[in-house]
């Protein structure tokens, strides 16, 4: 479908085509640089000293790169009244993400399995209701959730955030597995049933072994979403129980003392690292998850 380099009468004029191609490459390279710029500025600022930041240019490479700001952000920066850095919040996020991703993925797999291979009257309505749950603005459940977590003593706890993320991630994980298992041949499941295999045995022995790709997609999608969440974190946790994104915002928004831009940027890098790492390692699956979340049905 590369039509741009051909002229109206269908023949290729070499000079014009070459100019057009130079133009395309130039446009793409400039755009790519623009997209990279904020990341570059974030990284280079985090490696500069405060004096260099104040006196120098944002775009300049660090004269004397140092990880001092990273060390400060990790272990010394003040968030609220405690000056122990972001490391505790980073671990809060890890402790929240790992169980939430595992539980919601497992439940999503089972739900998808039931909704495709053990259909019952009304399965479409059930799925539709779970699907709509993916898209609600969480503001519409925020107050009741805060009350509930308070009642059960789960506010300000990692367990509470895990619960919240499992619940509001279920729609997506179910969607992913349902669409994947939809394409899985029913004949294999029927054959196993005739052989006497039960519900869990079929799931465990037949569907799960071939679910590798969708598990990766779901885990990445959930990991990114939960790690990056801010609204639930800021609503249901405070102080030292906050996840990383909330701590980063508190650090950057705090107006006391000298504004340490390099430390802010280093903290932002820490908050970005896990998801960026996943993206670099498994970008293909990341995109597939986004697409599956966008194109439903």
């Amino acid at each position: 479908m590369s039509a741009a380099n051909e002229t109206a009468n269908g023949t290729v004029s070499a000079g014009g085509a070459r100019t057009a191609r130079y133009f395309i490459y130039a446009a793409l390279v400039i755009l790519a640089l623009v997209y990279l710029l904020p990341l570059y500025v974030m990284l280079s600022t985090s490696l500069k000293s405060l004096d260099e930041i104040r006196g120098g240019d944002m775009l300049a490479l660090p004269r004397d790169p140092s990880v001092a700001a990273w060390v400060r952000a990790w272990g010394e920066a003040c968030i609220g009244v405690s000056c122990v850095g972001i490391k505790g919040y980073f671990w809060n996020s890890i402790k929240m993400v790992v169980p939430a991703v595992a539980i919601s993925t497992l439940l999503g797999a089972l739900n998808g399995y039931v909704l495709t291979k053990w259909r019952f009257p009304g399965h479409k309505l059930v799925f539709g209701m779970m699907l709509f749950a993916c898209f609600i603005p969480f503001q519409a459940v925020l107050i009741p959730m805060a009350r509930l977590l308070g009642t059960f003593g789960l506010s300000n706890s990692t367990a509470g955030l895990v619960l919240v993320h499992v619940i509001y991630g279920l729609g997506f994980t179910t969607l992913f597995f349902r669409n994947y298992y939809e394409a899985f041949p029913d004949e294999l499941v029927k054959a196993a049933m005739i052989d006497g295999a039960g519900f869990f045995r079929i799931f465990w022995r037949i569907l799960l072994p071939s679910s590798g790709p969708i598990i990766v997609v779901t885990v990445i999608y959930q990991f990114t979403n939960i790690w990056n969440d801010f609204l639930f974190g800021v609503s249901f946790s405070s102080g030292t129980s906050s996840p990383m994104t909330v701590a980063l915002n508190n650090l950057v928004a705090s107006s006391t003392g000298v504004k340490e831009y390099n430390v802010d940027m280093a903290a932002a890098v820490f908050a970005a690292l896990p998801t960026l790492f996943v993206y670099v390692v498994a970008g293909r699956y990341f995109v597939r998850g986004l697409m599956a979340g966008a194109v439903k049905g």
Partner: protein, 308 residues
């Protein structure tokens, strides 16, 4: 029930107790039930709870005293709410429009048998992996009026360059648009690129043989064929725009003043810091209605298409 199968079953050992049979038949539903129950309670039940709260006189804490439409009257008489709605309109239109235009533009450029596609694609897409808080933090620094872009332009010799949008109440909402577009446009590009790759090459070839120029091939054939992608992109972006919260908080904090207030920030501050829980609930109900109006017809048509 003890019904005897009229047709002999293949394996005779299936003559077990009816209880075990019943259990086995119900097992899939038992597995699905907890998830569905959780969704019913925590999504639909909680939505009803919020709707109910919006009809009460709740302030700092929920009270269940009926207040009629009072909270809605108060919501719609708040100048702040109009600022939020106006900002959502500006942000939504520009964010969706620019993301789609830029995403389609880059996708078309990328579709010209580009050699470095494998390098370029991840560069356009990586912002989508970042948290909105990270994006907001990075752009807040990048657009910092004293030390950021403005300073860089001055250093480059353009001393009259002025870029104070971040602290200028009239322009601050546009910084949210810029950061939002930076984050999401690569994803829209990937959607369009997937759409472009799915188009049947024969149609294009036929048009080329008929002597159509490449511009008119794109305008008359390819772009109309991408209609479903436009729809998907619109749905995804519109729903993200209404939900946008983290980005504004990290980038501008809703300010300067209330210049970048959005319904999401309005809801949060009225509920949790201004002790106007009923008004906050009413605004949440408004947001839900907005999203429902966009999502439900889309989901309905998607699910129905699958059936046929």
């Amino acid at each position: 029930m003890t019904t005897i199968e009229p047709v002999p079953v293949v394996e005779p050992q299936r003559q077990r107790s009816t209880f075990a049979d019943g259990l086995r038949n119900a097992l899939p539903k038992i597995v699905l039930a907890p998830s569905f129950a959780v969704i019913l309670v925590f999504v639909y039940g909680f939505i009803l709870w919020t709707v109910y709260l919006s009809f009460t006189t709740s302030r700092i804490l929920p009270v269940y005293k009926w207040g009629g439409f009072d909270a809605y009257y108060r919501l719609w008489s708040q100048p702040n709410w109009y600022v939020a709605m106006q900002n959502l309109a500006i942000f939504g239109v520009l964010y969706i429009g620019i993301c789609i235009a830029l995403g389609l533009g880059i996708a078309i450029l990328m579709d010209q048998r580009i050699r470095a596609e494998g390098v370029l694609r991840p560069i356009f897409l990586y912002p989508m992996a970042l948290s909105f808080v990270v994006t907001g933090t990075a752009w807040k620094w990048f657009l910092n009026p004293g030390l950021g872009l403005e300073n860089t332009m001055h250093n480059l010799g353009w001393t009259s360059f002025k870029f104070d949008w971040l602290v200028n109440p009239n322009m601050a909402i546009y910084t949210v648009v810029i950061a939002g577009v930076w984050q999401a446009s690569g994803f829209v590009m990937a959607m369009f690129l997937a759409g472009l790759r799915g188009i049947d090459g024969e149609i294009i070839k036929a048009a080329q043989i008929d002597g159509a120029s490449s511009v008119s091939i794109y305008r008359r054939i390819i772009i109309p064929l991408l209609r479903p992608v436009f729809l998907s992109a619109f749905i995804v972006l519109a729903h993200m725009a209404i939900k946008s919260y983290d980005l504004v908080i990290a980038l501008t904090g809703g300010g300067p003043g209330n210049a970048t207030e959005l319904p999401s920030t309005f809801m949060y501050s009225y509920t949790f810091t201004r002790n106007q829980m009923a008004v906050g609930s009413a605004s949440a109900v408004m947001m839900l209605m907005g999203i429902t109006a966009i999502i439900v017809p889309y989901l309905y048509s998607e699910l129905r298409e699958k059936q046929s």
